[in-house]
């Protein structure tokens, strides 16, 4: 997993609520057996028409917007557990998703892949949308060690929550597998005392 510390970037707005993982990456593109290459089908049916032509007006097709931060409406990533959704967003070049609410499984999947789900209040989210609308080149600074979203245009620092362990993992590029595999002794001891052997 790639390390994440501080990111300075413009952002792409997607002011839609309840974006489900079927929109992020439709099921028909889940047939690959590797983790790579999902980015080209990110938001496929919103981004391209049935002939494969870019749909005008969709923010990812709009040259005014760029950057490694995706800003989306509340309850982002609901629906299926497909980790392909996190892979597709990452593969398309994003490192942070800002929303006012994330679905649980998506949040976990993102963190396991070096993609930071950054939760802000509904109010801040709306202000961010307005800010990008007014000036699409607005810069955002995501500082993970400080747990701060800094918006130079507002001269404002907004703190965000993240689990302490997950924060360490992101900063160091570790994942849970390394940790769990090192727990073997405790796991074996637990197994000897399981109440009921299923």
């Amino acid at each position: 997993m790639e390390k994440f510390e501080v990111l300075r970037s413009a952002a792409v707005p997607l002011a839609i609520e309840n974006i489900d993982t079927d929109q992020i990456i439709p099921a028909r593109f889940l047939k690959a057996t590797s983790r790579e290459g999902f980015g080209k089908n990110l938001f496929r049916d919103w981004r391209y028409d049935s002939e494969g032509n870019p749909i005008e007006g969709f923010p990812l097709n709009d040259s005014r917007y760029s950057g490694q931060i995706l800003v989306a409406g509340k309850n982002f990533g609901c629906g299926s557990s497909r980790e392909h959704a996190a892979w597709a967003i990452y593969d398309a070049g994003f490192r942070v998703v800002i929303s006012s609410y994330f679905a649980d499984i998506f949040r976990g999947n993102a963190l396991n892949n070096g993609l930071l789900p950054l939760q802000v209040s509904d109010e801040v989210l709306q202000r961010i949308f307005q800010q990008i609308e007014a000036d699409p080149t607005t810069e955002f600074v995501v500082d993970l060690p400080k747990q701060e979203l800094y918006i130079p245009a507002w001269e404002e620092r907004i703190s965000f929550d993240i689990d302490a362990y997950k924060k360490e993992c992101l900063i160091n590029g570790y994942d849970d597998i390394d940790f769990l595999v090192n727990q073997k002794e405790a796991i074996e001891a637990y197994e000897k005392n399981r109440i009921w052997a299923y």
Binding site: A15, I16, E17, N18, D20, D22, Q23, P26, A27, R28, L30, K31, A32, T33, S34, R35, D45, S50, G73, K74, N75, C78, G79, S80, S81, R82, E83, H84, A86, Y101, F102, A103, D104, I105, G108, N109, N112, N113, D163, A164, Y165, D175, D176, I177, F179, L180, V181, Q183, K184, A186, I187, Y190, E191, R194, I195, W196, Y198
Partner: protein, 464 residues
């Protein structure tokens, strides 16, 4: 101290807690399928990690399989590769596999319970969000991402923080024609798609108790549709009766021991929940969805809300535009061209019986294409033994072979762009059943009536 059902099972599975609030959490059973496992196997190999407990994994092929001619090689090369790779991985790691053609093959959440693999008190995961289905047995069951699939393969554990607890009580008696599917669609319509995010839900109350195991699975299945990590129902005689004699259920003395333990699995009097909701069974009517998330549900005779519901803005209008509906209009009389009966929500034998029972001696409308996809080979076999296949064929329904099918349209079973489909599945997202498809979620009974009438009707008038 009074404990909730959830906490009893959770506590029994904590290997150790680490500072910062995370638990090393032990997983009893791991189910895998072809779509979310290949990258996990690949990662295991890349990191040179052994598979830790192969006997606690069961695999099946379901998401990507055709529902016609399963005895022939899969036509689509990508789908075939995925299914072949599952077979190869299971052979290499010596994992029990119910592949295509096997008598136990089926949708992973239909297969596990019907074989008795899912049992009260256990922890069970699968790389699939509807793993919540298994909670119907009083288990902690939830969907995980592929990275977590690798973690369970490598350590039989996950690193988790304990979710919050919610209890949803439904008391009273359900009205005729109101099924488990209507109960859960009603609850989701009340709470919204994010209403239970961060929570694990226990369903309780006399209306829930009165449901069969199939019905309970339908309810728990859709917990994820309101954002819940999972859903569960305390085991009782209905649960034990269902499990007894199933191939993987404990036998003889072990069975007695198991039941004695299972009887302790309920929320104690006075157990606390961070959130509680109570509903009256009498308030629930046959339901249908009109929008593009499962929270957008109404009683079938009600009109679509005329105003944007609180908390939704852009999505409501976008959603209605996609569906081709107007705010405030009624769905009654809308013509429907497709009916899909299947998916891990409603493809069990009881669902097929409900449909067959209604359509017996009737015929589907000419404008409708109706397909029924059984949840598993076992369901298919039983349907044939009971003669349901003939009833359905005479009524013009096409009975297919088991799989996820048009629930997510990864295989050839797709609803055409613009077409309306009344579906017994769990998601009505844009394009879920094929690009441009428009899905209306409902119970098998509503689906059967719709297929016969060719349009949305007030189902209450069609019940005898």
């Amino acid at each position: 101290m009074a404990k909730s059902l959830f906490d009893k099972i959770w506590d029994a599975h904590v290997v150790r807690s680490i500072p910062g609030g995370l638990d090393v959490f032990y997983i009893d059973k791991h189910l895998i399928h072809e779509v979310t496992s290949p990258q996990a196997f690949a990662e295991l190999e890349e990191r040179h990690l052994p598979l830790y407990r192969k006997n606690q994994i069961v695999a099946t092929a379901d998401h990507n399989v055709p529902t016609k001619n399963q005895h022939l090689p899969i036509q689509d090369p990508l789908s075939r590769t995925q299914v072949d790779q599952l077979t190869a991985n299971c052979e290499r790691f010596d994992i029990e596999l119910f592949g295509l053609g096997h008598q136990n093959q089926g949708i992973v959440h239909v297969m596990g319970p019907e074989l008795g693999i899912t049992q009260p008190g256990m922890t069970l995961v699968c790389g699939d969000s509807h793993t919540s289905t298994h909670g119907a047995f009083g288990a902690i069951a939830f969907g995980i991402g592929t990275s977590q699939v690798t973690q369970v393969m490598a350590s039989q554990c996950l690193l988790l923080s304990r979710p919050k607890r919610m209890r949803i009580t439904v008391d009273g008696e359900l009205k005729p024609g109101v099924t488990a599917k209507d109960v859960i669609l009603y609850i989701i319509a009340q709470l919204g798609t994010g209403g239970a995010t961060g929570y694990f839900v226990e369903y309780a109350g006399s209306a829930i108790r009165s449901l069969s195991m199939e019905g309970r699975m339908t309810v728990c299945n859709m917990s994820i549709e309101m954002g819940a990590r999972g859903g569960m129902i305390a085991p009782d005689e209905t649960t034990f009766e269902y499990l007894k004699g199933r191939p993987y259920a404990p036998k003889g003395e072990k069975w007695e021991q198991a039941v004695a333990y299972w009887k302790t699995l309920h929320s104690d009097e006075g157990a606390t929940f961070e959130k509680e909701y109570t509903y009256k069974a009498e308030d629930i009517a046959p339901m249908i969805t009109y929008g593009t998330n499962p929270g957008m549900g109404i009683a079938i005779t009600d009109a679509i809300p005329s105003e944007v519901p609180a908390g939704e803005t852009v999505s409501f209008e976008k959603s209605l535009k996609y569906m081709g509906f107007k705010p405030g209009e009624s769905l009654l009389g809308k013509e429907i061209s497709h009916v899909f009966i299947g998916s891990c929500t409603n493809s069990r034998i009881e669902d097929l019986r409900t449909v067959a029972n209604y359509v017996k001696g009737k015929h589907k409308a000419d404008n409708v294409e109706a397909i029924i996809v059984p949840g598993s080979k076992q369901v298919e076999k039983q349907a044939k033994e009971e003669g349901l296949d003939k009833i359905l064929a005479e009524a013009g329904f096409e009975l297919r072979e088991p799989g996820c099918s048009a629930c997510l349209a990864m295989n050839d079973d797709k609803i055409p762009a613009g077409a309306y489909c009344v579906s017994t599945s769990n998601r009505n997202f844009e394009g879920r059943q094929g690009p441009g498809s428009r899905t209306l979620l409902a119970s098998p009974l509503v689906a059967a009536i719709t297929a016969v009438e060719g349009k949305i009707v007030d189902v209450n008038r069609y019940l005898n």
